[in-house]
Amino acid sequence: MAEDFWLNPWLPLMALATSMVAAVVIFALPEERHGLRTGVNLAASLLKLGLITVMVWGVFQGLEYRLDFTMMPGIEFVLRADPLSMMFAGLSAVLWVLTTAYAVGYLEYSPNRSRFFGFFSLCVASTTGIALAGNLFTFFLFYEMLTLATYPLVVHRGTEKALAAGRTYIIYTLSGGALLLLGMAWLYAETGTLEFTQGGFVEGPLTPSLAIIFALLIAGLGVKAALFPLHGWLPQAMVAPAPVSALLHAVAVVKAGAFGIVRVVNDVFGIEFARDEGLLLPLAWLAAFTITYGSLRALAQQDLKRMLAFSTVSQVSYIVLGLCLASPLGMVGGLVHLLHQGIMKITLFFCAGNYAETLGVHRIDELDGAGRRMPATSIAFTIGAFGMIGVPPLAGFITKWTMGLGALEANMPWVVLVLLVSSVLNAAYFLPVVHRLWFRARERDWPEEVRWGRLETMSWLLWPPVLTAAAVVAIGVLASFQFSPLSWAELLVNREYLP
């Protein structure tokens, strides 16, 4: 693609607009036009994937895509594609295709699908906006939009429990948004800019107000990233339908928080400034604590989705911890986990949804013998679980290995200990589930079994987890290939930070 191709500045906006337009079209379609709606959904997600692919290629070649206009005096709306934004946008585009397909199957025969898919598309649009935001203000805009777009998805079922979860969710996230806004307004009053800049735009020395701003921004983002003690909403939000949980955990909400923390540390404060002024160490401790705490809570859960939720609390903090190491390999490990965790976790949630929809199983102790009844799903689940534990050569192993090396490089050996403890805990809560799947015989009937033809479940539900599980293997085995997540994270760190 040519350097000065006239369409270039518009590509980020087009990527954003595909999901926005899809949302509007879906809202406008009558409830009973299921076929057309599925078509619009899939077409939009594929189109978006195509646009993102073009931009990934361009960014790899060193192009920059940028669109901006002034909204308010001094405040610009900026969309921009750089390696970091491509990482997150790519993740959301790929997983949107799969989750859409999954959701089509999952929600067949249920009411209010027009509303569901409309907000679903808005949710993906927000994620894309977050990824492509070129300044803190644009980021905030889409960050808040994400909150509003996910609320109807969380309360989708309209039950008491769902409404209560939605209430908790909205209280947490809007309060987080308010902290973020305060931090952002203060930052602007202090520095006069909000534009994400390589190496950060905050200039030393560290004043108390800058330290408070940093704390406000991290707290505001930490709510969505489910950092302890701001994680309370996440396990409750599990009442949402499975595709929503999958998307919330893998791409949209928690990742938006983690991605925001990466942006604030790297492009607002600058990683070296933050490290040298001692801002990162407390954050590293908090992340390490959250990793251990989430795993311990996961051990105690009986409900499969709740267990996965606490596992997310733990895993997302890997990203933050890797970032806080502030050494090249540590950052690579943290950033690559942004993708790895997404793909592994979405696999696990898809599988949990399949057990619930096909067999009526929600609790871990009801899973005995599910491996025989649903082999493909169970293999996918096992791969996801092993990946989380960090079994070589799966994706999770790559993360933990790189981060471990990074910790040694940064001279923070205690982090290696955290990684080891966490892996043991991961094994302690995932292996019993795997054991039940494969090695326990079935003695009772399934709680609510549904049969769909020859396959173990509906094909819309079957293929997404199989594909993501294959990806978990592939990105681990092929980690050193040119466009693997690992290589991209290395490119990013080499090009942008810590040269």
Binding site: M72, F77, N112, L141, V155, G166, L174, S175, L182, W186
Partner: protein, 487 residues
């Protein structure tokens, strides 16, 4: 050309008011549609004329002040004229379908509507205190009449209460005007500002200022003088509530703001400025809190108005004794807040009217299942709610951002807490409505679908309020001299 436009702008509302008094509701509706087109056309044309050149003073009928009536036609005034045209037309179109033409008293809707419009334009353009008073009275009397159109005993009671409060407010204001005249010998705002600068420390002017401010605060329903607003706005028919919340309370605030910006630097005190700010802050918190507790949908929206009006009064501390740049930010924030609240609140009341029409009940708990059956009106309500919560990219956010900057830059950080808490509390009452609409009841599937047009109008307003933040920059540049002198 310009004078024709001005004449059209000022005289159509009065002429239409008189003519529609003579005909029934249905004929009045036809006439009013024509009138709205004329008004919107004149406002748009004038706005662009001023945006291209600059503001000017316009002497009505060629008579110069002090004998004649002089009007101050600047970017800010015309933006409000345009806002009025947009919101009033939307409410008028909605009312034409929403109100029941067979009730005999509804025929008075159109005359009152047009008198209200005339009064509003007079206030935005007025350049001296007495003309502002006349405009204000015209607004008050027609607004009270519109509330009474609800037709039942409750509506009458609410409108009488409103009338009483408004008259007390007018008295206080008029007394202040008289004292001012005694002190300065002129009623022109510009002249007074000039004199106050030349002879600082005038005894009595401070008292006059305080009297006028109190009267206007009562008419604007500033906490703790807000008691009359929720019953009146809650019980009026929805298009009327929309007019009242969106425009009527803004008129008295507009006068207060102009007085403050012209005379405040010399006659105001730090205590007065902070007092207004504190009352505004209390209004934000108290109004939002009560909005969260109301069992009735329209009362929620009405209390939300009390809260949103509170933000406006932060103008006083944020423009007193601060640098020019901060004052500018505060004024811009305030202007955007007025505009975005007008659009969002009108959208909200009209959408609430549709929801009530559809469920047949004003109770929040009866909204169960509405998200499935009336998603369009609910969506309009929601989008307007986003603006009230002041999330980006709405006009509400742009306003809040400027106010946050003004308070941080002037070192008055405590207002930032009010702004943030207000945002969260407004989210609480808006989400309470969403939550009710997401509840699923199997037995409650009886809904009436209002006509499409009724659903489209609030959506348009909500989208305008949503998009306001995106065009804040060009809009603010037209109002380059907010509350300032014309060219």
């Amino acid at each position: 050309m310009m004078s024709w436009l001005m004449a059209g702008l000022l005289f159509t509302p009065l002429a239409w008011a008189v003519v529609s008094l003579l005909v029934g509701f249905r004929t009045g509706r036809w006439l009013s549609w024509v009138g709205m087109v004329l008004q919107v056309g004149a406002s748009v044309a004038l706005w662009f004329a001023v945006a291209r050149e600059s503001g000017f003073y316009y002497a009505l009928g060629g008579w110069q002040a002090p004998l004649g009536i002089e009007l101050q036609v600047d970017g800010l005034a015309l933006t409000f004229v345009l806002l009025t045209a947009a919101v009033a037309s939307a409410c008028g179109l909605h009312a034409g379908v929403y109100l029941d033409p067979d009730k005999p008293w509804q025929r008075y809707f159109w005359p009152l509507f047009w008198f209200l419009w005339a009064g509003l334009n007079a206030v935005w353009l007025g350049a001296d205190l007495f003309n502002l008073y006349v405009g204000l009275e015209l607004i008050t009397l027609s607004a009270v009449g519109l509330v009474a159109l609800g037709g039942d005993a409750g509506a009458l009671r609410a409108s009488l209460r409103y009338l009483l409060a408004a008259l007390v407010g007018s008295m206080a204001y008029l007394l202040g005007v008289a004292l001012m005249y005694g002190q300065f010998g002129t009623l022109s705002l510009a002249g007074m500002s000039h004199l106050a600068q030349e002879y600082p420390g005038l005894e009595g002017a401070g008292l006059a200022m305080a009297l006028m401010m109190t009267g206007l605060a009562l008419k604007t329903a500033l906490f703790p003088l807000h008691g009359w607003l929720p019953p009146a706005h809650g019980i009026a028919r929805s298009p009327v509530s929309a007019l009242l919340s969106a425009l009527v309370v803004k008129a008295s605030f507009f006068i207060a703001a102009r007085l403050w910006l012209e005379l405040g630097p010399n006659l105001g005190t730090l205590a007065l400025a902070q007092l207004a700010g504190v009352l505004g802050a209390l209004a934000v918190l108290w109004g939002s809190w009560l909005a969260c507790l109301q069992p009735q949908l329209k009362q929620v929206v009405a209390y939300s108005s009390v809260a949103q009006i509170g933000y406006l009064f932060l103008l006083f501390p944020l423009t007193w004794g601060v640098t020019e740049a901060v004052s500018q930010q505060a004024q811009q924030g305030m202007t955007l807040q007025v505009i975005s609240h007008a659009l969002a609140k009108a959208a909200m009341f009209l959408a609430a009217g549709n929801l009530i029409l559809s469920t047949g009940s004003n109770r929040v708990s009866d909204l169960a299942g509405v998200s499935r059956f009336l998603p369009f009106s609910l969506f309009s309500f929601g989008l307007a709610g986003v603006s009230l919560m002041s999330l980006p990219p709405t006009g509400g956010f742009a306003a809040k951002w400027l106010l946050l900057q003004a308070s941080l830059n002037s070192g008055q950080w405590w207002w930032t807490l009010v702004l943030l808490a207000g945002g969260l509390l407004s989210a609480a009452y808006v989400f309470r409505i969403y939550r009710a609409s997401f509840v699923e009841h199997s037995e409650l599937d009886q809904f009436y679908h209002p006509p499409r047009r009724l659903e489209a109008i609030p959506m348009m307003l909500a989208l305008m309020s949503l998009g306001l933040g995106l065009v804040a920059e060009p809009l603010l540049s037209v109002m380059a001299l907010p509350f300032g002198e014309g060219g």
